[in-house]
């Protein structure tokens, strides 16, 4: 049984994020008596595997300029293969080699992540706004924390990723940052660390020195003028975690040594 603070760590996705460093950091926290739940994406591995399997990848760009993966049925199969069969076993094996008993899970396990499929989404193509209806992605609407709680109480580190289950029990893709936020809120986590391929929230996306110490995200609507692409979703995730009672939410650099402990020590951007 661990009784220390619970930290939820979300790691990429982005191939530049150093998963070995993250695992070593998680091992340090666990050795210090803390509880950790890891959430991961895997866009690089999804793209790589889709390429090998000859499945074309398309991106949806919302009218608000947020880019997401177009998840048709063939792509959803690749998403699950890459996350559950590629990225996750490597993270579990790495944690295990470091002496951390970890357990790989998707949102399907224990009915942990439930989503409502978005029946229609808008995408901007050649300047035109088009409605897309066969996109198998969803919006999280329920977290059932019992499985993760059971594992955390027994000293295991859950390693969680999409997909979630829709209302019919079928897999749907969900945003991994928002899944991390929802899990952090449902589990009463003390801290959420969203690791990314940048030093934090930047005022100028092309300038790594423009990182903000703190960023107050608007309580409604689009997440502010600094937010573009993936960072917009991270800020929405951060806002959801804060609204769900997570006291500390940071967006920090996943490319540095010791990324989790650096973030917990104050690097990156505190979202308030």
């Amino acid at each position: 049984m661990t009784t220390g603070p619970l930290t939820v760590v979300k790691c990429g996705g982005n191939p530049s994020v150093d998963s070995a460093g993250i695992c070593a950091d998680v091992a340090g926290l666990v050795a210090a008596g803390q509880s950790v739940l890891v959430v991961h994406g895997g866009s690089g591995e999804i793209t790589r595997l889709a390429g090998k399997l000859g499945i074309p990848q398309r991106t949806l760009v919302s009218p608000d300029n947020v880019a997401t993966r177009y998840t048709d049925p063939a792509t959803l199969e690749v998403v699950v293969l890459a996350l559950a069969g590629g990225v996750k076993p490597k993270l579990v094996a790495e944690l295990s080699r470091l002496g951390v008993p970890s357990v790989g899970l998707t949102g399907l396990d224990g009915g942990m992540l439930r989503a409502r499929r978005k029946s229609v989404v808008r995408s901007v193509v050649d300047g035109k706004t088009i409605l897309i209806r066969d996109n198998l992605s969803g919006r999280l609407d329920e977290v059932r924390p019992r499985l993760a709680e059971t594992l955390l109480q027994s000293g295991f580190v859950p390693v969680v990723s999409p997909p979630a289950a829709d209302e019919h029990g079928h897999p749907v893709n969900v945003d991994a940052d928002r899944a991390a936020a929802a899990l952090a809120a449902a589990l009463g986590a003390d801290r959420l660390v969203l690791l990314t391929g940048a030093p934090g929230v930047l005022t100028d996306p092309g300038d790594d020195t423009s990182v903000l110490d703190t960023y107050e995200v608007p309580t409604t609507g689009a997440p502010g003028r600094f937010a573009r692409g993936g960072m917009a979703l991270k800020l929405i995730a951060a806002r959801e975690a804060l609204a769900g009672g997570v006291a500390s939410v940071r967006i920090a650099d996943g490319r540095v040594p010791g990324p989790v402990s650096r973030a917990l020590a104050g690097s990156g951007t505190a979202v308030t």
Binding site: R122, V125, L131, I132, P223
Partner: protein
């Protein structure tokens, strides 16, 4: 050549340009309703389904 259809909401003329795409959203100039191009040949318009802006609220 553009096609002219009546807006299903206000019956004003709505112009479908030759470069329009299936499932494209266009705004009616008369009533500002968002319309979806359900079919191109023949051109068919309908009020677009509401799409939540997913800001997580």
């Amino acid at each position: 050549m553009s096609t002219i259809l009546a807006c299903p909401e206000c019956e004003d003329d709505v112009e479908i340009s030759p470069s329009a795409r299936l499932n494209e959203i266009i705004d009616c100039a008369g009533c500002s309703t968002e319309l979806e191009i359900l079919s191109l040949c023949p051109a068919v318009l309908a009020c677009a389904p509401e799409v939540e802006e997913d800001w997580g609220e």
